[in-house]
């Protein structure tokens, strides 16, 4: 599923500058980063409620392609700059993790783990 399709499906906003013309095969809904590192597959979308810079680091380490913040959470500039440097697009949506996951699951995205 492409990031553009995800943005449309969830009425999401892009928070970073740069290329969003990528696609993901899996999605991982989690707030605990060790679990992301344990379960998450490469080429995934991370759906999370945490917005600190270490979430971007986790994505970088785990080979995650993009991060979606739920409940309209907005990261500060440190997080956004790190994501731009690491070329990991950040999105946010007003939906909660349950609804965002529920909608994306209807498309061809698989879970992780």
């Amino acid at each position: 599923m492409t990031l553009k399709e995800i943005i449309t499906a969830l009425d999401a906003t892009v928070l970073t500058e740069g290329d969003i013309d990528i696609s993901v095969q899996h999605a991982c809904s989690a707030d605990l980063m060790s679990d992301v590192l344990y379960y998450c597959k490469a080429n995934s979308l991370l759906i999370t409620g945490l917005i600190q810079p270490h979430v971007v680091r986790t994505a970088e380490i785990a080979g995650i392609k993009a991060i979606l913040f739920v409940q309209n959470k907005k990261p500060d500039i440190t997080t956004i700059e790190l994501a731009q440097k690491k070329k990991i697009p950040l999105l946010n949506t007003s939906l909660c993790m349950y609804k965002a996951s529920g909608i994306l699951f209807k498309y061809d995205l698989n879970g992780c783990g």
């Binding site: 490469a42 810079p53 680091r57 970088e60 080979g63």
Partner: protein
């Protein structure tokens, strides 16, 4: 693989409680291995294990140090901290067992998956801890795909 300058070594100071720069050491290890042309899946495993070790210092210890050594066959990662030490290392190795306080869990860590995750991703894994002194984790991973 570029083997001219082997072994490659490096070290990092890790400051307890500093979540903002968390992952910088692991990120550098990842870059070194990428530049050497190591297989992507192997790099991912190493980066994950290194990051978990780094995070444990940030979460639990006052300070610590990460050393890495890369040869043409393997990478060795040693993370040594001045922390409280682990009282029951067997329990600490169980998935889901954690002594992390609530604020750490609210930061997204302390789910009790760190040490199991290191062991899962490393080819050899050694944990040595003395209560009141600190903890040392030493891991090696083969760089050649079998």
């Amino acid at each position: 693989m570029n083997q001219d300058k082997m072994p490659i070594e490096g070290s990092f100071q890790i400051i307890g409680g500093n979540f903002t720069t968390a992952g910088e050491a692991s990120s550098e290890v990842k870059t070194v291995l990428t530049d050497l042309g190591v297989d992507g899946d192997i790099i991912r495993r190493i980066a994950i294990a290194t990051f978990e070790a780094e995070m444990n210092v940030i979460i639990y210890a006052a300070a610590g140090q990460l050393f890495y050594e890369v040869t043409d066959e393997y990478i060795k990662i040693r993370v040594q901290d001045m922390g409280p030490g682990i009282e029951d290392t067997n329990r600490a190795m169980q998935e889901g067992y954690s002594t992390a306080p609530e604020w750490v869990r609210n930061m997204g860590w302390g789910a009790g998956m760190g040490l199991p995750n290191m062991k899962k991703n490393a080819d050899t894994f050694l944990l040595d801890s003395v209560v009141g002194e600190g903890t040392t984790v030493e891991m090696t991973m083969n760089l050649i795909k079998e």
